[in-house]
Symmetry: C2
Subunit: 479 residues, 2 copies
């Protein structure tokens, strides 16, 4: 390295000590200014920061500062850089930064049944495949591997919060805490025997226990009740559960008004419609997360809005199982809180929220002969802050705003399918795919960076999943 | 390296020359056998080879041998390896090998308008955005960059053949030949002024010239006529064009029975329905590729089947523009040849055939309340051999069979969303995404390997596309 000697001209020679003094003073000032920068844990940038807040939807060349899992500042990259210094910095070059997606309804571990049986009517599908295979294979090990595989897929595709309803919820919750995602985990209750339970009494008892115990732990898992549906849980049981859930201040997640057969059964048994029926039992309030809601009457839509029920639209599943098409535009118009979900992978066959976003934006236009319905921004809200409202987590997550938990994702903009770019919201809804997600952050912790998983061993999980898949294949061949 | 000396026991000492002789003879035989292996250009393997032929749909651990652009053998990897030796070998570990996808209807260079304007009714969208921006920006340079960007996207997503209808078809054809894809390129004709043309006479004249000239070139581009639609081209012009196309043995690709407004216009002008109208003009035959066909009557469906018309179903576009939902299950039942298409990226907003496959499989189930409609295999056929039949290229491409051109793609199976695997066809339809494609081969030439483009400079194309995008953005801001 060359040593630099500063040669001062003769006339300045005597000023040397003065110049040195000024230099030292300025240096100290700059250092003092730098020291005044607030130290944070993480700064994430974005060529476009899609905040999903009403005031400041998209910031060009923006950044988010995160401290103790919480968003402490949002602004231009220049402003954030001037005010904050971080241990970890993630570049936003060629990337969109936005809130993590919220999958409002899924049965995660069913990823292990992905593609096991398709293109079948509901009853043969359930009776010949899902129920027998669940009976034979769903145990704690299955849940452990299934939930890990599902978390891998969700982290890969930018889902940061999900609402789950499957078996062995305690086991599920442990995996979720370990892999770093956020979830509302419903403990399933049903009047019939199911994996781990003989019937209502023990499944409901276990749910009460699960909710009480998990509530005392301060993790990212929020415990909930998950009665299966109004046609599989008696009126009396539903009413009891509703009272208990209200007492424990726990969410209830359930299937509601999904299939036309359900309408017939509820009509026959109770002389009413499913949503009116659960209202009569005290279930309608803003703790209720109702999945599907494909066949609400106009009066029921008013009830859903009035009681601030969270409705989860699962367009792929509703088409694949031939349940029908939910009147989402009407519900949104009436002020119903509507989020989006994938449903379980057995009826989808993946947990890719981008496909639900795209389909929700497309489907209702075509069915209603109106290309202006369900515009991109409306649908993207359903997958972020609107979904958070529907599941009552909007104080915590759903947009990029100061005080919210740092649940953030970055999408790569360099693909041909994302080029050129006129409107970033349009690209997210109509052009992006799950594989464009390159960074997933929950609670300020990086779960995936540049497509690499930091909390899960993808290779191992895939091997374990394939082993279970091989055992299921053998059982299917014996049928 | 250790030198190995063979020590023979005393009793065998005298047999040394004999043993050596046998060894030499065996070595020569092995060498001779190896030399007997037929030399081919390329062997591509697949953990699963999805041939799409009726006889041999899926081969486990299979391979395809390619010589002079043609598939010369299909079988297990062991059998192919025993009979053939190739200069280039592509491993099939953790990969599905299948025929390239066929996009039966698109306006490729419109990728440069991707996401420019969404969620608008058809007329404001066309009049305020598409028509003025086409008028201002579509020139040979636009087509050059737009087609390259589109080819990049199609190669990335595993589309190997497409049917195009846009401006400056000669320029388009040159780009397609250079990048290595296969296409039917329609020269657009319309009664009104359009980029490059004042009206019918010169657009039709240019189409005749284009078809004649390109037919004499023996490339991968098949020239075609592309009259816009029966409501934008007069009956007389359509009849003239049909006669000329039949004389030149060239395909015709057109929009047909797309929007309900079209039905009204044709009814008013000609007192009939669009498909009956073009039948009266002599257009119905197996050289016709009819895009959309959203509103055929039962009688028209019979006509389409009888005349072996190729129908292209564009589910995303039909939903997004609110054209409606095509009765594809009824058409398939009647024996109509139905393929799949993306339409232009302005109404999609990408050229990802996997989304059309998935949507075609889902949509009709939900709309018709029948989960058994459009099973996975039926839909995958529409994107491969069925699509090839619809565009009359089934002698050339569409499945993996000896004698067909080697248009092949590989998909990676290692993603969480592809795990576990029970049914490879189900995964391709309900779980795969465009980004799972890792290899794209057309005519035996590798266009993409391990996700890397071999015939196009992705970075340069993206830069050029963004420059045009920036100019369009400025023009939009002035509006």
């Amino acid at each position: 390295m060359k040593k630099i000697t500063i040669k001062t001209p003769g006339i300045l020679s005597n000023l040397k000590p003065l110049i040195f003094g000024i230099f030292i003073t300025l240096s100290l000032l700059v250092t003092a200014c730098a020291a005044e920068k607030e130290s944070v844990d993480l700064i994430v940038q974005g060529r476009y920061v899609v905040t999903m807040t009403p005031e400041m939807p998209v910031i060009e060349n923006g950044a988010v500062a995160v401290k103790d899992s919480v968003i402490v500042a949002v602004g231009t990259a220049d402003d954030i850089g001037a005010k904050y210094t971080a241990k970890t910095n993630i570049s936003g070059k060629d990337r969109i930064l936005m809130p993590g997606l919220i999958n409002g309804h899924t049965h995660t571990s069913m990823v292990l049944f992905r593609g096991m049986a398709d293109d079948l009517a509901l009853m043969p599908w359930l009776r010949n495949y899902i129920f027998p295979m669940e009976g034979q294979f769903v145990d704690p090990e299955f849940i452990d591997v299934g939930m890990k595989l599902a978390c891998l897929e969700m982290i890969r595709g930018g889902t940061t919060t999900f609402v789950d309803m499957y078996f062995y919820p305690d086991r599920e919750a442990d995996v979720i805490e370990a892999c770093g995602l956020r979830a509302i985990v419903g403990s399933p209750s049903i009047d019939f025997p199911s994996p781990g339970f003989k019937g209502w009494d023990d499944s409901y008892g276990a749910a009460v226990k699960f909710v009480k115990e998990r509530k005392s732990k301060s993790g990212r898992v929020i415990p909930a009740f998950a009665p299966h549906a109004p046609y599989t849980v008696s009126a009396e049981h539903l009413a009891d559960l509703a009272k208990m859930a209200r007492k424990l201040k726990a969410p209830i997640t359930t299937h509601l008004s999904e299939d036309r057969a359900e309408l017939d059964q509820i009509k026959e048994r109770y002389g009413t419609t499913p949503i009116q029926h659960v209202k009569n039992l005290g279930l309608l309030d803003n703790w209720l997360i109702a999945a599907h809601v494909v066949h609400p009457t106009a009066a029921e839509i008013k009830l859903l809005a009035k009681y601030k029920v969270g409705v989860i639209h699962n367009p792929t599943s509703n088409l694949k199982t031939a349940a029908g098409i939910s009147p989402v535009p009407e519900m949104l118009k009436a002020g119903v809180r509507v989020g989006l979900g994938t449903d379980g992978a057995a009826s989808n066959n993946d947990l890719n929220m981008w496909e639900e976003i795209r389909l929700a934006a497309l489907l209702h236009k075509g069915v209603n002969y109106d290309a202006t319905l369900m515009p991109a921004e409306t649908v993207l809200k359903m997958a972020t802050i609107g979904g958070a409202e529907a599941i009552r987590l909007d104080k915590l997550v759903g947009d990029i705003a100061v005080g919210k938990r740092a649940d953030l994702i970055q999408l790569d903009l360099s693909g041909a399918h994302m080029t050129p770019l006129y409107n970033v919201i349009s690209h997210l809804v109509y052009a992006a795919t799950g594989s464009d997600v390159v960074t997933t952050i929950v609670d300020g912790h990086i779960l995936m960076q540049d497509g690499k998983f930091l909390t899960l061993d993808a290779e191992k999980i895939r091997r374990q999943a394939n082993e279970i898949g091989a055992r299921i294949t053998k059982a299917l061949q014996k049928k």
